[in-house]
């Protein structure tokens, strides 16, 4: 990317700006502005804080689950509550932690990286954030209504999701609201990326983070309505006497699974593609080399997104699908590993013979690379139909998706926070503490989730509060790991808070290898309004 900058004066814009923007121009200071702000940086921060909070709420639920599974037998929670915990843990982590955190980064970074002044629709932006609050409250409150929170698993399969109490209706409503919020967010991001780029910022010059978000946003607009449709049908089955999925009235529960996973598989890529983008920016920075195969990265991301629409059947190999269907979904699933592999090799090639240095963001990216690849491999194992028939619904699946989601999505996000915190706040985090956070996380993550492969292979089913005695040892190991993992995340909060309050001053270009606009063109901390005059990218 070029560094030459020529200010241009777009007179129409200047005039329009003065007329329109003065009311939210009061900058930082008054906290009540969080309700009315339309500034992309404010909204980005709000998203990030919200998701950090939800990460800890979801994490506490996970620790309760692991406490219960520390030993066989029932110790802390009843089976019904246990099932609610696994359900709401997943929903909170997916819709409350990972997705909003990515949107938070999108808000902060996309306008700066393409040289725009703000998002295309700032008022809608404020809306999409504030919609999440009632949704989160609904999810929490559902624990306290008669019948408790949804206990059907995050996949909401009937018949359990048809039988549940009012907590399930609240969950469905919450998902509707969160879906609307993500659709609005996505529309905003696509419009910003396609229409608001600075002169000279062609699509193929955009940083990878922008590209992955462009593709993710399209995925979201395409599949969120499908989820909304499916859960609406659930709702009418529950209350209005329809029988889409209700077997008692001639409906077909398997059909729900098809529709759900038509949403669900693209959803897992929604949860990972923006992390691919973050990693694709951090690795070149600390390898001090441009990203290897930029164009192939773009095409690989796009192919992953397109293929993700035709592989949903790998979640339901055991429903009694014809062999032809199983074979189709098996090969299609394995096909996705090809573009994913392209990305992995490109990251490795970027590091190859680079002048590597290992600051915290880079450590998290390398952890991401190793562990995510492992998760991809266990995914490939599960893609093999005869193997999946024995491993489906066991802890092996739990191990698989935690390997792709924790080091994939969460470490991607952590890397991003450490990487951009100096830019956002103008202050440096504590490098030693960051490294502690990484190593504790990396070790305890593996203590927690690696044994779950063994448990799954030995036949331990997922989503159970109690288990046969032969599973006791590895469950105990896993629970110990989980508690270390959970509490090490407090180091992260401590580091972020003390960075904001008393970190050392950061340089405008804190990382010498960074080359996107926010590093090359803007001071640290970035001012409240940036690129009001478009930079010209050559």
């Amino acid at each position: 990317m070029s560094t030459a900058i020529t200010p241009t004066h777009d007179h129409a814009y200047q005039g329009a700006h003065d007329a329109r923007d003065h009311h939210d121009d009061h900058g930082p200071g008054n906290w009540t502005r969080i309700f009315t702000t339309t500034n992309h940086k404010d909204i980005g921060s709000m998203y990030l804080w919200f998701s950090l909070f939800m990460f800890f709420v979801g994490g506490s639920m996970a620790l309760l689950i692991r406490a219960e599974l520390f030993q066989p037998g029932l110790q802390f929670v009843q089976p019904e509550v246990f099932n609610s915990l696994t359900t709401v843990h997943a929903l909170i982590m997916i819709f409350g932690a990972v997705m909003p955190a990515f949107t938070g980064f999108a808000n902060w970074l996309i306008p700066m990286q393409i040289g725009a002044a703000d998002m295309a629709f700032p008022r809608m932006n404020n809306w999409s954030f504030w919609l999440m609050i009632p949704a989160a409250i609904l999810l929490f409150a559902s624990f306290f209504v008669p019948g408790g929170a949804a206990a059907s698993g995050w996949t909401l399969y009937p018949p359990l999701s048809i039988q549940g109490g009012i907590g399930l209706d609240m969950t469905i409503l919450a998902i509707h609201i969160l879906g609307a919020s993500s659709i609005m967010g996505s529309i905003n991001i696509i419009t910003t990326l396609l229409n608001m780029r600075a002169p000279g910022m062609t699509l193929m010059k955009m940083p990878m983070f922008c590209w992955t978000w462009l593709i993710t946003a399209y995925l979201m607009i395409a599949v969120m309505p499908v989820l909304a449709g499916a859960i609406t049908m659930l709702l009418t089955d529950r209350h209005f006497g329809t029988s889409f999925f209700n077997a008692a009235g001639g409906g077909d529960p398997t059909m729900f699974m098809h529709i759900f996973w038509f949403f669900g598989h693209p959803e897992v890529y929604i949860l990972i593609l923006p992390a691919f983008g973050i990693v694709s920016q951090i690795i070149p920075t600390f390898a001090r080399k441009p990203l290897f195969g930029y164009a192939s990265m773009v095409y690989a991301t796009a192919s992953i997104a397109m293929l993700s629409f035709i592989v949903w059947g790998h979640h339901m190999f055991t429903v009694g699908m014809p062999a032809a269907g199983q074979l189709f979904f098996m090969y299609a699933t394995m096909l996705i590993a090809v573009p994913t592999g392209v990305k992995i090799f490109n990251w490795i090639a970027t590091m190859w013979r680079g002048s590597l240095s290992f600051e915290t963001p880079m450590l998290f990216c390398i952890g991401f690379l190793c562990m995510f690849t492992l998760g991809g491999f266990s995914g490939l194992v599960l893609a093999i139909v005869p193997v999946d028939i024995t491993l489906h619904n066991t802890y092996y699946v739990v191990a698989h998706f935690h390997y792709v989601l924790f080091p994939g999505a969460i470490w991607g996000l952590m890397a991003g926070v450490y990487f951009w915190l100096p830019k956002f706040t103008g202050r440096m985090y504590n490098e030693t503490l960051g490294k502690w956070h990484f190593w504790l996380s990396a070790i305890s993550f593996n203590i927690t989730f690696f044994p779950q492969h063994f448990l799954g292979l030995a036949g331990m089913p997922r989503r159970i509060p109690d288990y046969a005695l032969q599973f006791a040892e590895w469950n105990m190991v896993s629970s110990i790991g989980a508690f270390i993992l959970g509490f090490s995340q407090l180091l992260f909060v401590w580091n972020v808070v003390s960075c904001i309050r008393s970190g050392e001053k950061a340089k405008a270009k804190q990382w010498e290898g960074a080359d996107s606009l926010e590093w090359t063109h803007l001071p640290s901390p970035v001012p409240y309004h940036t690129f009001e005059i478009a930079p010209v990218i050559k």
């Binding site: 129409a12 339309t38 295309a120 629709f121 229409n195 607009i221 449709g229 049908m233 059909m255 014809p322």
Partner: protein, 203 residues
């Protein structure tokens, strides 16, 4: 005012409800709004797609014939090249005042084919009685290839005074049955076991 102009005003005025634009110029602002409506359009399209998945899914399964999947697969275990004649006989042990007779006296089936037949039993006594049926085969080797999946002879049968009941036998003849055996007679004899079973209950 041309159609293009009307569209422009529509988008400008209507778009105002949704958004406060942050565009650098009126042109960008306008293209942003067009984009907003285009992208919003994807939402109902995908909702309709989702709803249409319900009938579509049924149709596709029907067309491809994948409704009941595996259980639909042809049973390769049936030997359709030959028939076995099976005769059903009923006997009563002495002093046992039940009526006992096969509903179907004869069936012809392929080896490997599953079949259910019934015996009709009436307790003509004025009090409840328990009986136990014991099967026997002719020829005796026939019994080796005669597999009962479910049979009233598997357990004691208690009949109330005057009760009538159909008692099923589900069976198939093993495909290994030698060529020379073309017919099997299955005969049941009911024994009165009331005292024995009452004694067992008292114990």
């Amino acid at each position: 005012m041309g159609a293009g102009r009307i569209r422009f005003y529509f988008i400008q005025v209507f778009g105002q409800f949704f958004v406060k634009d942050n565009a650098r110029s009126l042109q960008v602002q306008h293209t942003n709004r067009i984009m907003l409506f285009k992208l919003l359009l994807i939402v109902p399209v995908m909702l309709i797609f989702c709803a249409s998945l319900v009938p579509l899914y049924r149709q596709i399964c029907k067309v491809l014939g994948i409704t009941a999947t595996r259980s639909m697969a042809a049973n390769t275990q049936v030997d359709a090249s030959r028939f076995i004649a099976v005769d059903f006989v009923a006997n009563l042990n002495t002093n046992f005042a039940w009526n006992f007779a096969p509903v179907e006296k004869h069936v012809d089936i392929h080896p490997g084919e599953k079949m259910t037949v019934n015996y009709r039993v009436t307790n003509t006594l004025p009090y409840a009685t328990t009986g136990r049926a014991v099967p026997s085969f002719a020829p005796i080797e026939g019994g080796l290839y005669f597999n009962k999946i479910e049979c009233f002879c598997f357990s004691n049968q208690t009949m109330q005074a005057g009760e009538t009941r159909d008692m099923p036998v589900t069976f198939y003849v093993n495909t290994n049955i030698p060529k020379e055996i073309g017919a099997i007679a299955l005969s049941y004899t009911f024994f009165n076991v009331t005292e024995a079973s009452d004694g067992a209950k008292k114990l």
